[in-house]
């Protein structure tokens, strides 16, 4: 084994974690188990970001997805479902057609993607992506950056109006 095959091995292990976690997320009967598998998947995706040299993004992924979004999902599960609900049917009657559709979609994707010759650039990644991202966010992408604050404000107002008991 060499350095390259170690990277390959890491990639395959992480891929396995992501896909297995995803499958368990969508198929688990116990909704809380789904949520925990979702956390597992999101964490593995952060690992994948590390493999792609996106360290800052990996940290953000864990912080926002695992720390905030998945946590919120777990809160929602705890408020709305019970351990006793595990016995209920958890999928609707369309699961076989859905499986067929997904199979076609996947086959289509594999057919389309596997041989497409993307122009892979040989330029190495900048060593310090965190500072570069900050600079880009403040110069080239400053308008989206400000729009994000409006989006967050809208989400906040929306959530407060919807969830507030009156």
């Amino acid at each position: 084994m060499t350095e390259i095959s170690l990277t390959n091995l890491t990639f395959y292990i992480l891929s396995f974690c992501i896909i297995a976690g995803g499958i368990f997320t969508v198929s688990s009967r116990n909704l809380f188990h789904s949520a925990v598998f979702l956390v597992f998947t999101l964490f593995s995706v952060a690992g994948m970001f590390v493999m792609l040299n996106a360290y800052l993004l990996a940290a953000i992924q864990v912080l926002i997805y695992v720390g905030a979004v998945a946590m919120l999902m777990i809160f929602g599960v705890m408020l709305t479902t019970r351990l006793a609900d595990v016995r209920l049917r958890h999928v609707n009657e369309q699961s076989w057609p859905a499986l067929a559709i997904c199979g076609f979609f996947l086959a289509f994707l594999v057919y389309g993607l596997w041989d497409t010759p993307f122009t892979v650039s040989g330029v190495p990644m900048p060593a310090d992506t965190a500072h570069a991202l900050g600079t880009l966010l403040m110069t080239k992408y400053v308008l989206p950056f400000e729009v994000v604050s409006l989006l967050l404000l809208a989400a906040l107002v929306g959530a407060v109006v919807i969830a507030k008991k009156d």
Partner: protein, 117 residues
């Protein structure tokens, strides 16, 4: 990437050691279960129903607020990282960004979401 190899190793070794101590405890400890012992703990009373109660929705609303402000806080980190090299412009941008979100905080405050009772 190699700097993160330590993180992966710590994750695996930490989990391994914890599971090992569980295994060790399983070998050493006695095990004498009986039906009363295995009941859900309720201060010595016979458990009444299951843990299905109507919990306070306040917890949930705080979690919703948290997600918004956490996203904002995290979004400020890349900005803080380059603050010195970008000049007054970055500062003004940030004042606008923060003002908009503080407005949201005060909205929630006025709406009485931050009141517990």
């Amino acid at each position: 990437m190699s700097e993160f190899a330590a993180v992966a190793v710590f994750l695996l070794v930490g989990t391994g050691i914890v599971l090992f101590t569980f295994l060790l405890a399983k070998i050493i400890r006695p095990s004498a279960p009986n039906p009363v012992k295995l009941e859900t703990y309720e201060c010595g009373e016979t458990p009444y129903g299951t843990a299905e109660l109507q919990y306070n929705v306040r917890f949930y609303i705080y979690a919703l607020l948290f997600v918004i402000f956490d996203v904002e806080a995290i979004f400020l980190f890349p900005w803080a990282l380059v603050y010195r090299s970008l000049g007054l412009f970055a500062f003004v941008e940030m004042v606008i960004f923060i003002t908009i979100l503080v407005f949201g905080l005060f909205y929630a405050w006025r709406k009485g979401v931050l009141k517990w009772f």
